[in-house]
Symmetry: C2
Subunit: 183 residues, 2 copies
């Protein structure tokens, strides 16, 4: 940020009065420009014993596999965002969404939220941001070709929880759990 989005004058970085953090501040119109974390919302779409993954057609991580997910938009609920991203990336409809993972990614100021969801039917296809969309059995998950650690972690937890059929809502932060070994 170099210029004030309100008046167009240059901003400076300083700690505003009564604050404890450095902000972008406009000393012309006195606007303080706060910057806050973003939510990435997505689904873990399930069909029987299979899970739906999308191969990314865009950077970052072009060519790698992901759960359908993306930035939540203003005016949405987190669940609506997860549903919309699943529609956009996998042209898929999902039902019975259950909050499952909330994973902090503080080094990039993001919070990733995943819902377990039932795929409504077998009508799915690559959306504009996907190269292909495919159902995977656990044994076929391309672990080394997953796009993001939060996707790997969500799938790891899902397969661990599937043994007991209990799916507690999980809240954790990356990277402490990144190195967890799959059992």
């Amino acid at each position: 940020m170099k210029f004030c989005s309100h008046c167009g004058n240059p901003v400076i970085q300083r700690i505003p009065e009564g604050d404890s953090r450095v902000r972008f501040v406009c000393d012309h119109c006195q606007t303080i420009h706060y910057q806050n974390p973003n939510i990435v919302a997505g689904c873990l779409p399930v069909w029987g014993t299979k899970v739906l993954l999308c191969r990314r057609a865009i950077e970052p991580r072009l060519g790698f596999w992901t759960l359908p997910a993306g930035f939540m938009e203003n005016g949405e609920t987190v669940e609506q965002a997860a549903r919309r991203e699943t529609d956009e990336e996998a042209c898929a409809t999902v039902n019975n969404l259950s909050l499952y993972m909330m994973i902090d990614v503080p080094h990039i100021s993001q919070v990733h939220v995943f819902y377990r969801a039932e795929l409504a039917n077998l009508q799915f296809a690559a959306g504009i941001e996907s190269l292909e969309v495919q159902l995977f059995e656990e044994a076929d998950i391309p672990w080394s070709e997953l796009a993001f650690p939060t996707v790997s972690r969500t799938l790891e937890c899902y397969y661990a929880d599937r043994i007991t059929q209990l799916y507690p809502v999980r809240s954790e932060a990356l990277p402490p759990s990144r190195g967890i070994k799959k059992t």
Copy 2:
């Protein structure tokens, strides 16, 4: 937003190519300025049968009671934000935070996240944004003087769940549950 924060030229509102939503776009430097929801993180600090509330010293809702909560900052986890806000608003230390409520407030593009937490000790005091901080028994909660519907809703759920001592993580949106009657 009137000016590009990157180059200082005026922005316009249009749907960028490949997008489906109106964004602020700078046709001078081609920057697209996305605007996304914010996370408000807070705690429900418990001491035995009592809950800690803060009376707000700032707008909005000056003079009304709230759970300690505020905007999550870049570089934090949601839990760190909840802990920091509890320290800032109530000068209180909390332990054993458990994710409890994720409440969408889509009309103002916010997601409110509350943790149940144990107050570490009886050392608390009004922070700079609070007029007073006080422990309340359920019978004394100032329901008609609570600052925000997400605070009311979180307390309603807490007292309902306290009967069974089971506190499932809840995910819901305002306003559908706003009119819920306390039983």
